[in-house]
């Protein structure tokens, strides 16, 4: 009797086990499969595949989103040195896992002493040492890593230091811009992109940034202060002053990053988080708020509707152009007007000024002509 009971129990346990196994298999198989060209855990979108991969690898080795971004930016400074680098500045919009969004602003600042009639040179050349702002880039990385970093600071620099030291074939985009520095005024920069015979390198040639690798290695091992104070700062300032610049070691030592809340703009089902002035997010929000009032959908791109949609879009930009003079550093003037730009009521007012069947003369948009920048 007892023996048959035991047999019944073991059969039940076996059936149960099979059931669990089947459920698990179904769960795994049916698990939300993401389409081929998407990812299920994390992703990085940078200017080049190499830098996106370096950012992804940092994420995959336990790095935070900020760690991945910093590593991808450092990589871009050698893959696209014509676009950005540690001699510039950046603006971060960071959302943590709880959904809180902060802005880390490390945009360049005006040095203590600068060419008095600098703005009179606008119509001449925009290259040259007189236009150099105090770079904030590395201070921005330092602050972002301090607030959100998970991996060691030095880890974020390793992939780029290796790239810079070992060299790599000049990518097509970088190669496209090398002729821009093939001038007498840019001999120093030209030398960086020349072979030992003095020929300008071109796409596919191997380029190395050994001096930059040394600088990055010092920053990686000793922190951001190594760039803003001490030997690197002195060397950087000496080179800038030899090029006629006015920056001083005090400017570098005094540079500070600002951390603020993001500005939030409702956009349909979304909340759009953007940096405050002097960034341009408010102009973006004004354009979108004007356009959302036309209740656009895929039909808006069909037939006559398409022309009307783009006419409204162009008119919105004409009004936005006229308002750009109100974007400035809030530490040097009120940003009350700028806040207004993000409000629906302001967008509704501007939309009411847009005629659907004609455009107007410039003064109608109350614009102030300013130089277009391409940076």
């Amino acid at each position: 009797m007892a023996r048959s009971k035991a047999r019944v129990y073991s059969c039940c346990a076996l059936i149960l086990l099979c059931l669990v196994a089947i459920i698990v298999c179904i769960a795994v198989l049916v698990r939300h499969k993401c389409p081929d060209d998407t990812f299920s855990s994390a992703a990085v979108a940078a200017d080049s595949g190499k830098c996106s991969e370096i950012g992804r690898d940092i994420l995959q080795s336990g790095g935070s989103a900020v760690d991945g971004a910093i590593a991808a930016l450092l990589c871009t400074s050698v893959m696209n040195p014509q676009s950005m680098g540690i001699g510039g500045g950046s603006i971060f919009t960071v959302m943590d896992s709880s959904g809180k969004v902060n802005i880390i602003n490390s945009r360049e600042t005006v040095p203590r002493s600068f060419k008095p009639d600098l703005l009179k040179s606008c119509s001449k050349t925009l290259a040259g040492s007189q236009w150099i702002g105090v770079p904030g880039e590395i201070r921005g990385y330092e602050q972002a890593h301090r607030l959100y970093g998970k991996l060691p600071w030095a880890t974020l620099f390793k992939p780029t230091i290796q790239l810079a030291r070992e060299g790599f074939p000049i990518p097509q985009v970088q190669g496209r811009y090398l002729p821009y520095i093939d001038t007498n005024e840019t001999q120093s920069l030209r030398k960086l992109f020349s072979d030992k015979n003095g020929n300008l390198l071109k796409t596919g040639d191997i380029v190395k940034f050994e001096k930059l690798a040394d600088t990055l290695e010092i920053i990686a091992n000793h922190g951001a202060d190594a760039f803003y104070t001490g030997r690197i700062a002195e060397d950087l300032i000496r080179d800038i002053q030899e090029a006629g610049g006015t920056l001083t070691t005090q400017d570098l030592a005094a540079y500070r990053v600002t951390v603020t809340d993001a500005w939030v703009v409702p956009l349909g089902e979304y909340k759009m988080y953007i940096p405050p002035p002097p960034a341009g997010g408010i102009i973006l929000s004004l354009i979108l708020n004007i356009m959302k009032g036309y209740h656009l959908n895929s039909a808006s791109l069909v037939g006559e509707q398409k022309t009307r949609t783009y006419h409204h879009y162009v008119e919105a930009f004409k009004f936005a152009n006229g308002l750009k003079k109100h974007i400035h550093d809030p530490q040097f003037g009120s940003d009350e007007m700028a806040k207004k730009f993000t409000e629906d009521s302001f967008a509704n007012h501007i939309r009411s000024l847009i005629s659907s069947d004609k455009t107007h003369d410039p003064q109608y948009y109350n614009i102030t002509p300013y130089l277009d920048s391409m940076g």
Binding site: S41, R56, F92, T93, V314, Q331, M374
Partner: protein, 174 residues
């Protein structure tokens, strides 16, 4: 200018735009440190009458994060004054015209310069260009288009990452 968009496993996100401003910035190179210096102060041109020590120049940069109940979109653009054009075009095409993120970023843009002249990216709809000219818009030709949008979007557990083909970009994830 460059833009990097990141979405991590824990749902945190970074949208960061970084620049030395014009192509190779001030074109001043520091041989002792290997650093190429910016020309950011030129962004004050035509915008202000005076500048002050410590002041930051105005910028079109707009690294953005958009959050809804079910979606997160991390987006930003490069290209100086064309930054706003790049992001606005991508967002309208994706959020309102129903295009995929990739199609929305690739959609040809129309740029309104500071003189309110209208410049169309080469593949822009020719009929619309003619119609807009008929409405009185002044059309001009741009030598280059610098707008480059890089974005990452998470919806329903899957992540779409797009780097703009205009700069031969490529995203990566896992």
């Amino acid at each position: 200018t460059t833009h990097v968009s990141v979405l991590a496993e824990d749902g945190s996100a970074v949208s960061v735009t970084s620049t030395i401003n014009h192509i190779f910035g001030s074109k001043v190179f520091s041989p002792r440190t290997g650093v190429i210096l910016n020309n950011e102060l030129s962004d004050f041109c035509g915008r202000v009458d005076n500048i002050f020590p410590g002041e930051q120049p105005p910028s079109s940069m707009a690294p953005a994060v958009l959050k809804s109940q079910s979606k997160t979109l991390v987006i930003g653009s490069t290209g100086g004054s064309m930054i706003t054009t790049g992001i606005a075009s991508a967002l309208m095409n994706h959020l309102w015209f129903g295009k995929s993120l990739k199609e929305a970023i690739a959609a040809p843009v129309v740029y309104v310069d500071s003189q309110n002249a209208v410049k169309f990216e080469p593949a822009f709809d020719k009929d619309v260009i003619e119609d807009l000219k008929a409405l009185g818009h002044k059309r001009e030709t741009a030598k280059h288009f610098y707008n480059v949008v890089n974005a990452v979007e998470k919806e329903g557990g899957c992540i779409c990452a797009v780097s703009d083909a205009r700069k031969l970009g490529k995203a990566a994830g896992y």
